[in-house]
């Protein structure tokens, strides 16, 4: 994998990036005192593995044609994506202070007004479909670029998700990789309590996807899974990544709140904890 603009960080260097993303997330949500801090912290390891190891991405040219695409289907996680884009150098870190500020392109629900955001999702169920379209065109053009789509586990309740899953498999798209953030959390409570989807790994397998279940906070496991996805040329791969909302901040870890409170004392304590 000697592609240009691919960082390939591992081990302590990659772990440090994940930690830095978490600090950004806390700092961004703190002024608002509530928000998608649980999701941002929970997905930090996945985003770090993508942006600092796996994906080809040119921060000086976020629209570079040879880039790997990352689509954030639950755009509520924008706080995490913005942190990754800034830490990767696609926008100045001080711009993160504009998160959610009126007039800023760093909208709470991530929008493509910000370069580096590939599509405006957040009306759930659409991201994987957009990724399928990108993957079809990239393959037809014999591009080396890959498509990564993060979706939420609650999002699997949307029918369109399964339309997309079906089509990626039918088109044998091996250049697309879905990552499901399995945090067992949605607005009304635990995903299992709202609409239990049963054995989700069996469902993805039944639809023909190379299905890898892993700990979404294990950076080595994430890198190995992305490598396995690249090596699987018969069709699409999904990573079912078990995560803990609020991961890395004791006061928030495991709290299943879609829009969590982050009072100043908790934010301050979190930043101390995340100094690493």
């Amino acid at each position: 994998m000697n592609r240009p603009h691919r960082l390939g960080l591992e081990g302590a260097a990659l772990a440090d990036k994940a930690l830095r993303l978490r600090r950004h997330v806390v700092r961004m949500v703190a002024p608002i005192a509530e928000g998608y801090v649980g999701q941002g912290l929970g997905a930090a390891d996945i985003l770090a593995a993508l942006y600092f190891n796996e994906m080809a991405f040119d921060p000086d040219d976020p629209g570079w044609e040879g880039r790997d695409r990352f689509i954030l289907s639950p755009a509520h996680y924008g706080v995490g994506l913005f942190a990754a884009l800034a830490e990767r150098g696609a926008l100045p870190v001080q711009e993160l202070a504009q998160y959610g500020v009126d007039g800023s392109p760093l909208e709470i629900i991530a929008s493509e007004r910000l370069p580096g955001v590939e599509a405006t999702c957040g009306s759930l169920g659409m991201g994987l479909s957009v990724g399928v379209g990108m993957a079809l065109t990239l393959r037809r053009r014999a591009s080396a670029s890959r498509v990564y789509v993060l979706i939420g586990d609650g999002e699997m309740q949307e029918g369109e998700t399964w339309e997309a899953v079906m089509s990626a498999s039918a088109f044998k798209l091996s250049n697309i990789c879905a990552i499901v953030d399995v945090n067992d959390m949605q607005v009304d409570g635990s995903t299992k309590s709202v609409m239990d989807m049963g054995n989700i790994a069996a469902k993805w397998r039944a639809f023909g996807w190379n299905t890898i279940t892993l700990d979404g906070h294990d950076l080595d496991a994430l890198l190995a899974a992305f490598a396995a996805a690249r090596a699987h040329v018969e069709g699409p791969t999904v990573l079912l990544a078990d995560t803990i909302p609020g991961r890395g901040v004791t006061a928030l870890e495991g709290r299943k709140a879609h829009f969590a409170k982050l009072p100043p004392d908790v934010a301050a304590q979190a930043l101390v904890e995340l100094e690493g």
């Binding site: 405006t120 169920g125 659409m126 957009v130 399928v132 065109t137 369109e160 079906m166």
Partner: protein, 329 residues
Amino acid sequence: MSQVRAPITIANSGAVWRPGTPTDSKAYGRALLALAEADPRIVCLGADLTGPTETDLFRDRIPDRFFNIGIAEANLMCVASGMARSGDIPFVNTFGVFATRRSFDQVTLQIAYPRANVKLVGFMPGLTSPGGPTHQATDDIALMRALPGMVVVEPACATHVAPLLAQLVAHDGPAYMRIKRGDLPKLFTAESLPPLGKAQIVRPGRDGWIIASGVMVTLALEALDALAEQGIQAGLVNVTSPKPLDTDLVRSLAAEGKPLLVAENHSIVGGLGSAVAEVIAEAGIATRFARLGVDDVFAEGAGAPYLFQTYGLSPAAITRRFAALARPG
């Protein structure tokens, strides 16, 4: 339920215009194929309606750029968006109801919002479908017109289809074209199609104007003859693009102070009639004005000639409405 009715069949859903009108079939399918053969950016998508959307021609000639997504319109729209975001010009072919109502959120967020270069093609507009409310797109213009940046067009004539498609390809952004399935009348020359956003004056009027689009242009032409027999000389304007609307022309026609009747194969709510009314009202012009279309009701499954008669879209209905406007009281 004791009333006996003739069975609904595709056969009795035929042409709504006067027998003998010259027609052409598969004008869309042939025009799309010709454009695609000259432009490798054009890809063709569908959702299990290949034959009915005339895209079998494309599938058979350019299979590597043809994608059948299956019966999954939400996915269809987003896949097209992903392709457009990667540099393709997707033509998305399905029935009008599915291209708009069925997938409105996807069209809104993944096509209109990013101004993706996707061309939506919706067949069976208005009452040209025998399929009842599930298949009759009587609100598609209203829905698409509400989307910022969405171009909305409908050819009145088979000859206009190819140049209209070329206009859509030249326009970098989303567009929705509604088009009657099957035969289309041959009314005008290809050169008579005005640029996007401009309307075509088909016949000048002394006693006011009928503003029509799509199949209603053919029916309005019949109405003009009937009106002439009553001594009323109505003009006719063919609006190929309800959005962008030729607002200059609408204002200048309204300023004549003569009757204006909009005739559309669509609900009177939110369609061409509404668009024209908005322009006239905001220009502060007081004139005699009426909207003829599906009058804020759902229709039912039946043949097109029956539906056009029953729901007041026939040449006779156009004639009656215009005559009433022209001779108030």
